[in-house]
Amino acid sequence: MNAEHSVPNDPSARRLRLSGLIRKEFLQIRRDLSSIAIAFLLPIVLLIIFGYGVSLDARHERVGLVAENPGPETADFFSGLQGSEYFQPVTFSDQRAAKAALNRRQISAIVRLRSDFSRQSLSGQSAPINVVVDGVDANTARLVSGYLQGVWAGWLQRRLDERAIESTQSVLMQQRIWFNPAVRSRDYLVPGLIAVIMTLIGALLTAMVVAREWDRGTLEALMATPVSVGEVLIGKLVPYYLLGMGGMALSIGMAIFLFEVPLRGSLWVLFVTGSLFLLAALGMGLFISIIAQNQFLSGQVAIITTFLPAFILSGFIFDIDSMPVAVQSFTYLIAARYFVAILQTVFLAGNVWEVIIPNALALALMALVFLTLAARRMPRRLG
């Protein structure tokens, strides 16, 4: 030990020590293949589940139709529903049967035309169309009522056209949905999902690595060697950074080639911002791992602080602008928030620098803070 005291600090010795540390980490990765599974299996499983399984577009929604006095007028109105791809109509003979079906969740809405519907609508009175939607899932309920409004407006227009009368619907709305005109929810879910997956990978890969050394007592062995704290951290970061970027490349490739999400911006922007994000995520994982001091706790903290916040607070599914101000300020602490904004913009809108630059700077700052904290809290001697 004493002979080693004159620690050689010239660049070549440092390089040697660093490459040794990196090799050791790679050996450890090879021994427990779960790191490789985290980097490559996790993205594949999650992207396939999300890409194919998740859709917010309510299609073929089952709707109960009740005509208390069926006739040409009611059939004409219902034909609009039957022709729509949003609905899968089911006819009921009376309201009671329809209500029972709604209670059993077999249908999500009831459209009821009362017995005097034909008479009223022909005589120039406004005939009421009673709609009941199942409000338990408020989002679907709102989408269903929006689609029903569309069917209703189309029906009114058709009748007026038949009678060659100008519209009584005074103002018409033309809508254009930019960046995703077909409103494919997959096109925004898949890019956002890459941020969620990378959050998981970053934290999972590193949450264990220092804690493992604590548990096994190998940290003491490391401290006895002439390596510096910075070298230990870099030795831990490089292998997991490479693994993580591999996972990200795989995810982006799947998004483009398997899910056919358009990429309107540049790949290099994704590479640079992805690196910043990964450094922040790895830095956070290392920090957790150093603070927790054992794998059990470190794993618990990683589960709690990564997936759910990235899922709910990143703007990936839920709109951040609509959250209460106090909760909005909380979202600034979530690195995924910045990366989701970048990913959705670069994929669907292109290189919009007003979005990319501030979010990339925020990621860089988070990476810097977490890595500095990790270096500071890394134990230098046994306490």
């Binding site: 399984g53 408020a138 009522s145």
Partner: protein, 347 residues
């Protein structure tokens, strides 16, 4: 026997709560997450930025615009004076949508010609875009109704009267907060079971899951004011079966894992698809058939139907039988397998 069990239980609890950091992990984060997620996870739009591009100087357009900017869902982000300004607001996300009223708007309306407005919406999050469109349609329908009444125009031959059952104001918190009961119970229960290597212990996981779920139910009712119209027994049978089946899966993962990292990976591989495929945030009915079949393996899926059904709709216990028995089966199969695996590993 009972005495020995009680002693064992006490020991487990002491072991779990002895470590100050562990204690914090089990109590602090669920509370914080419940409060933050309960308010954050919502599909309702609230003060979303809208930019106005008004080329018309008439009074009708001013009235229409006031209806938009005054709505709770929107807040005015700015005014635009030329076509290129639309991209300047939408691209950098300064506005989610732009309302464009053309020059002839008031003139057309007063001549009883159909007038049109344009709505340009940022589709980067297409679900938010659709919801915003929906709000806009409602505002416009209100405007049309009052305009028709004012001008004594011919009434439309039918009108829609929409009511929502179980949640009349379509408050999505009522849907999401009961979902969070399932989410956090799942996570905490997995934390205490799947990460333990080699030591199969079901009781602490079950007890912690029960305490956690009860606490969040109380918070949902008394803090978030989610209605509870059903039967407490129907909910508790659901909670018990859900916790037991989750503990079963957790112990199964723990029995398969050779290292804690593998246990952690297994926990994630179960938690993440569970939450995504359970119907927590996206309806199961929208999924393709194959995925819908896959969801049958997920205990959370059944629990969400129970907790929402009991709290919001008051579905009685017998009608929920189809939700109870799959969880019981999942729980028993996994507990049995885990027990068998642990025994094999010990000898």
């Amino acid at each position: 026997m009972l005495y020995a069990m009680l002693g064992l239980l006490k020991k487990e609890f002491l072991a779990l709560f002895r470590d100050k950091k562990s204690r914090f992990v089990l109590i602090g984060p669920p509370l914080i997450q419940l409060l933050v997620f309960g308010y954050a996870a919502s599909y309702d739009l609230n003060r979303v930025p809208i930019a106005i591009y008004n080329e018309d100087s008439g009074s009708a357009s001013r009235e229409l615009i006031a209806r938009f900017t005054g709505a709770r869902a929107f807040r005015e982000a700015g005014r635009i004076t030329r076509q290129s300004g639309i991209a300047e607001f939408i691209n950098p996300k300064k506005a989610l949508l732009v309302l464009h009223v053309e020059r002839e708007f008031t003139r057309d309306l007063s001549k009883r010609k159909p007038a049109s407005i344009q709505l340009i919406i940022d589709g980067r999050n297409s679900n938010t875009a659709l919801i915003a469109l929906n709000y806009a349609q409602t505002i416009l329908a209100d405007f049309n109704r009052s305009w028709t009444a004012q001008q004594r125009l011919e009434k439309p031959s039918a009108r829609l009267e929409i009511r929502a059952w179980f949640n009349p104001n379509l408050n999505s918190q009522w849907f999401i907060v009961p979902g969070i009961i399932g989410l956090l119970t799942l996570v905490v229960t997995m934390l205490v079971t799947a990460l333990e290597v080699l030591i199969g212990k079901a009781l602490p996981g079950v007890l912690i899951g029960l305490v956690e779920a009860s606490f969040i139910v109380l918070m949902a009712v008394y803090w978030f004011q989610v209605p509870f119209v059903g039967d407490v027994a129907a909910l508790y049978l659901g909670i018990i079966l859900f916790v037991v089946s989750t503990v079963g899966v957790g112990l199964m993962i723990s029995s398969l894992a050779a290292t804690q990292q593998q246990g952690l990976l297994g926990a994630f591989l179960f938690i993440v698809p569970s939450i995504i495929l359970s119907g927590f945030a996206t309806p199961i009915a929208n999924m393709p058939e194959a995925m819908q079949t896959l969801t049958l393996l997920i205990p959370l899926r059944y629990f969400l139907v129970i907790v929402r059904g009991v709290m919001l709709e008051g579905i009685p216990l017998p009608l929920l039988a189809d939700q109870y028995w799959p969880m019981a089966v999942i729980g028993l199969v996994n507990l049995g397998l885990a027990a068998w695996m642990f025994r094999r590993r010990l000898y």
